[in-house]
C-alpha cells in the first residue's frame, strides 16, 4: 500500500503494508537508522521519535497511523547536533555503547519542550520508559538538568 509520510520535514512515499510498524519503515524503507530496534513491544524506548511533537515509540505506531502527522527522528532533531539536549549529552559524555541514546535524547527533548525545568522526579517519570543497559541513568539525569539550564 502506498503511503505518504512526513519525516524531518521531508515527504516520503513508501510502499508497505499499512500495519508495518513506523520503526521499520523509518529504518529499512526510508533508511533513517538512528531510530533503534530494542524490543518491538514498546518496553525499552530505543525507538522513541516525536509525532506531532509528542514522544512516541515507533515500534508501537503503525505506518498508516503516522500518515498526515509530523514525524521527527534523531536525525531531524537538529541539523548539527546543536539541540541543547545533544549539547548537554556531549558535555557530560553521556553515551557508553550509545545504542539507546537516540531514544533517550528524543524522550528528553520532548520532556523539556513541555517542562522546561523538570525536577528529578519529573525526569524519572518521563524517562522511565527508556532502558539503558550500560546504566547511564545518572549521567542522563544530570544532562537533562544541564540542557534545561541552556534553555532547551
Amino acid at each position: 500500500m502506498k503511503l505518504s509520510l512526513t519525516v524531518n520535514g521531508a515527504t516520503h512515499e513508501v510502499d508497505v503494508e499499512p500495519e508495518t510498524p513506523l520503526l521499520w519503515v523509518l529504518r529499512d524503507t526510508i533508511g533513517l537508522t538512528g531510530t533503534k530496534y530494542g524490543c518491538g513491544i514498546a518496553q525499552c524506548g530505543a525507538c522513541t521519535v516525536h509525532i506531532d511533537g509528542q514522544p512516541a515509540k515507533a515500534c508501537n505506531v503503525n505506518a498508516a497511523a503516522a500518515v498526515g502527522r509530523k514525524i521527527t527522528t534523531i536525525e531531524g532533531l537538529s541539523p548539527d547536533s546543536s539541540h541543547p539536549v545533544q549539547k548537554a549529552w556531549i558535555d557530560l559524555t553521556v553515551p557508553q555503547c550509545g545504542y539507546c541514546q537516540s531514544g533517550q535524547i528524543m524522550a528528553a527533548a520532548a520532556l523539556l519542550a513541555r517542562t522546561p525545568s523538570p525536577t528529578d522526579s519529573q525526569i524519572d517519570e518521563a524517562m522511565a520508559g527508556n532502558l539503558c543497559r550500560c546504566g547511564t541513568y545518572i549521567q542522563i539525569r544530570e544532562a537533562i538538568h544541564a540542557a534545561a539550564k541552556m534553555g532547551a
Partner: protein, 723 residues
C-alpha cells in the same frame, strides 16, 4: 570541552578500517569517518596519512589516526587505546583520531595487533605494554628522522606535543612522517612508567560521543549494502533441540518473501560458535521476514532438554549441597575434622538464578558472500575470531574475508561467541546476495549464552576469638561451564587456617557464557553475605572483621581502609535503615562497595546510595573509569533486584523486557566512586569490577535494616517487611 560538530555526511566510499581497502558500497557513515572525536571545527576525515606502523598514521598537518584493534561496546576501549598510544607518541589530544583496525590485515600480516579480542577487562590492564610500545616506537622513529635530517643525534631531538625540535630547529610530526616510516630502529624503546605520564591518569572525554548523539554511529543492525535482503531466524527454542519439519509453502506467497532456509546444526555437540538448528525466512525487509517467520509452521524435535527446568535444577542442587563435593581445590589444611568435632558453627546457603545480557541492540549481522571475497559486519567482541568463523562457514581462505569494525550496541560478554555470523554467511551464500540477519529480542533472550546460576553452602567453625578457624565452601554449578562457580570461592581471600572448596554439578541444556564479571558476579552475593554472617556470629564489626581477615594483603587493606575513611559505615542505624559493605576481587581489581538502604515497615526497599572504592593499581582515565563504575552498579542491581530467567520446559520463558525486568531510571541510586590505587605495578580492570560487590552490599544493608538475611535473588521477590 568544544561541542561544535559538523558531522552529518555519508561516505560514498566506505573505507575498510585501517587497511585502506575500498568497497563500492554506499554506507551511511562508517568506522573510518564515524569516529570524529569531539574536537571542534576544522575536523575532516583523515586522508593521506603516512603509516608509521600498523597502529597509526600521521597526516601532513600532524593529525594522528590511531587504529583500534578492539571492540568499542560502550566500555570506552576505543578511547583507552588512543590514549595509551598518544601518551607515548606525545601528541596533543586534539590531534588524535581513531578508526577500527582491520582484522584481515592482522590475519594476513602476522598478528600485528596481537590479540584483537575484547573482554575480561583485559584491554588496559593486560595490553597496555604492547599498545604503548607502538606509540613509543613511532615517536623514536620520528626523532630519528629529524636527527638524520638535521645532522644531530637522536638524543638531542625532543618530541613533544606533536613537535620535533633540536637546537634552533623544529618541525611538526607531519613533516617527518614519511621519513620516519622508512626508519628501522636498532633497538625498540622501553615504555614509560607511572610518574612519567603526561596524558595517562588525566580525564579524557570519550572519542565516540559525537556520533552517538545524532544517530550516525553505525552498529551491525544499521549496516545497509546494495541488494541486501533481510532474514529473521528461529533456532529451536529448547537449546539442543532440532528442526523436525516446516511448511514453507504456507508462507511462500507472503509479501516480500524470498526464501525459507533450514540452517543445519554444525556439530552434534554444540560449542558456543557452532551453528544451531534453525529456520530462516529471507525477505525484502526485516519486518516482512519476521512476520512470515512468525506464521511459519515449524515442528521441533525438542530432545531431552525439554525436561529441564530451573525448579528441577534447584531441588537437585539443594540435595547436593548436603553432600561432600567431588571437585576440591585450594585446600588449606583440612577443615573436615574440625567441622565434624563441632563447636560454634555458622552455616549459610545462597543461590542465584540464570540471567541474561539483553544488550540494547539485539544481535545482528550482515554478510556479503561473493565469489572472490566475503564482507561481514557482525555482533562481536573479536573481529578476528568473526573473520575466521565466516571463512570456516563459507569454506573460504581467511585472507579473502573482511570483517568491518562497527560500534556494538552493548555486548557484556555475549559477543564472544555468537553463531549469528555463521547464519548471515550461510544465508548470503545460499541466496546469492548480501543478507542482514537480526535476532528479535525474543530470539536473543532465548538463544544468548545465559549467565549461569549458582548455589553455595558455607559451613564454618569459630574459634575463641570469634574468628573462623575452619570453613568449607561448597558450590553447585550448572554443567555447561561449571568452572565459573569457582571464581571468588576457590580463591577466597580471607585467611582461614583450614579452608576447602568443593563443587558439584547439576545437568542442564541451557548454554552459558561470560556475563560482565562472570562467576564473581554470582559469588559476590554468596561469599560476601556469609562474611557478614561470620563476623556477626563472632561478635565482630563486618568492616573490622574483613580488615583482620586480610591482614598483610595490601590491596584489600587499602580498599577497606578507604571504605572505613569515607563511607561512614556503621551497624548502629535505627531499624528500617541499614548500611552494608562487601569487597570482591576480580579481573585484577579489588573493589569495595558500601550500600545505604531504607526499608519501610511494609517492606518497600529504597537504595539511597552506593559507594564504590576501586583499587585497580592504576587508572588511566578517571572520568571514563567512573562512568564504568556507575554502569557496573546498574548492571548488577538489575539482576539482584529484578532478574531471574524463568527456565521451564527446557527453554527461557521470559524473553522480552515486559517479563525480564532491568533497572529503569527511577530505580537508579546515587553512586559515588572513589579510587584507592596501590600503584604497585599491578593493573586491574574497570569494565566489570564494580558490579560484584554491589548486590551483597545491598543485601547486607537490608539485613541491618530488617534483620532478614537475603539468600537468593531477585531481592524484590522477598518479603522485606519488619515490625
Amino acid at each position: 570541552m568544544t561541542t561544535t560538530l559538523s558531522r552529518r555526511f555519508f561516505l560514498t566510499t566506505a573505507v575498510v578500517a585501517g587497511g585502506g581497502l575500498l568497497l563500492g558500497f554506499n554506507i551511511p557513515t562508517e568506522a573510518e569517518a564515524a569516529l570524529a572525536p569531539v574536537q571542534g571545527e576544522g575536523w575532516k576525515p583523515p586522508v593521506g596519512g603516512v603509516e608509521i606502523n600498523a597502529w597509526l598514521t600521521i597526516d601532513p598537518q600532524g593529525v594522528v589516526t590511531i587504529r583500534i584493534p578492539h571492540t568499542e561496546m560502550g566500555q570506552g576501549g576505543m578511547t583507552s587505546v588512543a590514549q595509551l598510544v598518544a601518551e607515548e607518541l606525545n601528541v596533543p589530544w586534539r590531534n588524535v583520531r581513531a578508526v577500527f583496525a582491520d582484522a584481515n590485515r592482522n590475519v594476513t600480516r602476522g598478528n600485528e595487533y596481537q590479540d584483537m579480542s575484547t573482554g575480561g577487562s583485559n584491554l588496559v590492564r593486560n595490553r597496555h605494554p604492547h599498545i604503548m610500545q607502538a606509540g613509543a616506537s613511532a615517536r623514536e622513529r620520528l626523532r630519528e628522522a629529524a636527527a638524520k635530517r638535521w645532522g644531530v643525534s637522536r638524543a638531542d631531538v625532543k618530541a613533544e606535543q606533536g613537535m620535533l625540535s633540536a637546537g634552533g630547529k623544529s618541525g611538526s610530526y607531519g613533516e617527518f612522517a614519511s621519513d620516519a616510516a622508512a626508519i628501522k630502529l636498532a633497538e625498540e624503546p622501553k615504555i614509560k612508567k607511572y610518574g612519567d605520564w603526561w596524558l595517562l591518569g588525566k580525564d579524557v572525554p570519550r572519542m565516540d560521543v559525537a556520533v552517538k548523539v545524532n544517530g550516525s554511529a553505525v552498529y551491525p543492525i544499521d549496516v545497509r549494502v546494495p541488494g541486501m535482503a533481510y532474514a529473521a531466524v528461529r533456532a529451536c527454542p529448547v537449546p539442543g533441540g532440532k528442526v523436525k519439519s516446516f511448511d514453507a509453502a504456507a508462507i511462500k506467497d507472503r509479501p516480500g518473501v524470498i526464501a525459507v532456509i533450514e540452517l543445519k546444526q554444525t556439530k552434534d555437540k554444540l560449542a558456543n560458535t557452532d551453528m544451531r538448528s534453525a529456520v530462516a525466512v529471507v525477505a525484502d525487509s526485516f519486518y516482512r521476514a519476521k512476520v512470515a517467520l512468525d506464521l511459519l509452521p515449524i515442528e521441533w524435535d525438542f530432545g531431552p532438554g525439554a525436561q529441564n527446568s530451573y525448579a528441577k535444577m534447584d531441588s537437585a542442587a539443594r540435595a547436593l549441597m548436603g553432600q561432600e563435593g567431588k571437585h576440591a581445590e585450594e585446600v588449606r589444611g583440612d577443615p573436615r575434622p574440625i567441622l565434624a568435632a563441632g563447636g560454634k558453627t555458622v552455616t549459610g546457603d545462597y543461590s542465584r538464578p540464570y540471567e541474561t545480557h539483553v544488550p540494547m541492540s539485539p544481535p545482528a549481522a550482515v554478510a556479503d558472500v561473493k565469489p572472490d571475497r566475503i564482507d561481514v559486519w557482525s555482533f562481536t567482541q573479536n573481529v578476528q575470531a568473526t573473520l575466521l568463523l565466516a571463512a570456516e562457514q563459507a569454506g573460504r581462505n581467511p585472507k579473502d574475508v573482511f570483517v568491518h569494525g562497527t560500534f556494538q550496541g552493548g555486548a557484556f560478554g555475549n559477543g564472544n561467541a555468537v553463531d549469528i555470523t555463521r547464519q548471515a554467511v550461510e544465508l548470503s551464500k545460499q541466496v546469492g546476495r548480501p543478507v542482514k540477519v537480526i535476532w528479535s529480542r525474543e530470539e536473543d533472550t532465548a538463544q544468548a549464552r545465559s549467565r549461569p546460576p549458582i548455589w553455595a553452602r558455607f559451613e564454618a567453625v569459630l574459634g575463641d576469638d570469634g574468628l573462623p578457624k575452619a570453613m568449607i565452601s561448597r558450590a553447585v554449578a550448572e554443567s555447561m561451564q561449571p568452572a565459573y562457580a569457582d571464581r571468588g570461592l576457590a580463591n577466597m581471600p580471607y585467611t582461614i587456617p583450614h579452608y576447602r572448596y568443593e563443587r558439584h554439578v547439576v545437568p542442564t541444556n541451557i548454554p552459558v557464557g561470560p556475563n560482565r564479571a562472570p562467576g564473581n558476579n554470582n559469588n559476590g552475593f554468596t561469599i560476601e553475605q556469609f562474611a557478614d554472617e561470620l563476623a556477626l556470629a563472632g561478635g565482630w564489626d563486618p568492616l573490622e572483621w574483613r580488615l583482620k581477615m586480610t591482614e598483610g594483603n595490601e590491596r584489600w587493606q587499602r580498599v577497606l581502609l578507604k571504605l572505613k575513611e569515607v563511607s561512614g559505615f556503621t551497624t548502629k542505624l535505627p531499624k528500617g535503615t541499614g548500611m552494608g559493605i562487601a569487597v570482591i576481587e576480580s579481573h585484577g581489581a579489588t573493589v569495595g562497595a558500601c550500600a545505604t538502604v531504607e526499608v519501610s515497615r511494609r517492606g518497600a526497599l529504597s537504595i539511597e546510595k552506593i559507594l564504590i572504592v576501586s583499587n585497580t593499581g592504576y587508572v588511566i582515565n578517571p572520568r571514563a573509569a567512573t562512568e564504568q563504575v556507575k554502569g557496573c552498579v546498574a548492571w548488577e542491581l538489575s539482576h539482584a533486584l529484578y532478574g531471574g530467567l524463568d527456565v521451564r520446559d527446557g527453554r527461557v520463558q521470559n524473553t522480552n523486557f515486559d517479563s525480564y525486568k532491568i533497572m529503569r531510571m527511577p530505580d537508579m541510586p546515587t553512586v559515588e566512586s572513589v579510587f584507592a590505587m596501590s600503584q604497585d605495578n599491578w593493573w586491574g580492570g574497570f569494565g566489570e569490577t564494580a558490579g560484584p560487590p554491589t548486590p551483597p552490599a545491598v543485601a547486607n544493608a537490608i539485613f541491618f535494616a530488617t534483620g532478614k538475611r537475603i539468600r537468593s535473588t531477585p531481592i524484590l521477590k522477598h518479603d522485606l517487611k519488619w515490625a
